[in-house]
Amino acid sequence: MSDMFSVFGVSGSALDVYKTWIDAVSDNVANADNTSPTSGPAFQARYIVAQAVPGGPDNTGAGVQVAGVNYGPAGGVEIYDPSDPQADSKGMVRKPDIDMGEQMTALIIAQRGYEANLAVVSRAQSAYQAALSIGNA
């Protein structure tokens, strides 16, 4: 016999992971054009690492969790922009190495994943409500 209402925990964990992912992507995009002096590191994009959580009632799986964060290269890319106040003597500044297409793709995947799990919550709610109506005939 499963734990009561266990789907809410599973889908809730997924909503949490996807939201963390969306937060990371929006932060990456917001900082994609940061410049920094070549003497220091560039802004490093954050990549959320998701990991399945085993267990749960009857071993059906206990959802998903954020296992860690990977960072983009600190070196970034050096570009020539002598008008930037942070440019070094050769006119170079450091910018983060962020692929905007990759970020936007991740954003869409995360958004769709969030929506899919929200749909699971409402499906589960209907089934639980049906279960609660047993004996009401």
Binding site: M1, S2, S6, V7, V10, S11, S13, A14, V17, Y18, W21, V49, A50, Q51, A52, G56, P57, D58, N59, T60, G61, A62, G63, V64, I109, A110, R112, G113, A116, N117, A119, V120, R123, A124, S126, A127, A130, A131, S133, I134, G135, N136, A137
Partner: protein
């Protein structure tokens, strides 16, 4: 008493387990290396009914990995479309069986009250 209610009970348990597994599959739709699972309780339940002998076991669900090929470079083989569909189907079947349980109860009630 006839085993109808017990059979319906087993089916409800099986569908609930399937719902949990589908929820976990969908929760891990973007988890690298995740392998989706599926639930079968019908085969064992059908077998138990065919064998006769009263009530079937209350839980006949078995969880096994799907054999789907990985559809992403990260080794994840979850199919979001088919699992979302299965989830809808599971919920509707759950409601249908709840209706059947309630129907059985109302027959019992009629026979008790006359």
């Amino acid at each position: 008493m006839d085993p109808t209610l017990d059979i319906l009970h087993t089916a409800l348990n099986g569908l609930m387990t399937r719902q949990s597994v589908l929820a976990d599959n969908i929760a891990n739709a973007a988890t690298p290396g995740f392998k989706a699972s599926q639930v079968d309780f019908e085969t064992a339940l059908r077998q138990a009914i065919a064998n006769g002998g009263g009530a079937p076991p209350t839980n006949t669900a078995t969880i096994a990995p799907t054999n789907a090929a990985a559809n992403a470079q990260d080794g994840n083989n979850e199919n979001l479309d088919s699992d979302t569909l299965s989830l809808s189907e599971t919920e509707l079947r759950y409601q249908a069986i709840v209706n059947a349980v309630n129907g059985k109860f109302s027959i019992l009630k009629t026979s008790i009250e006359g």
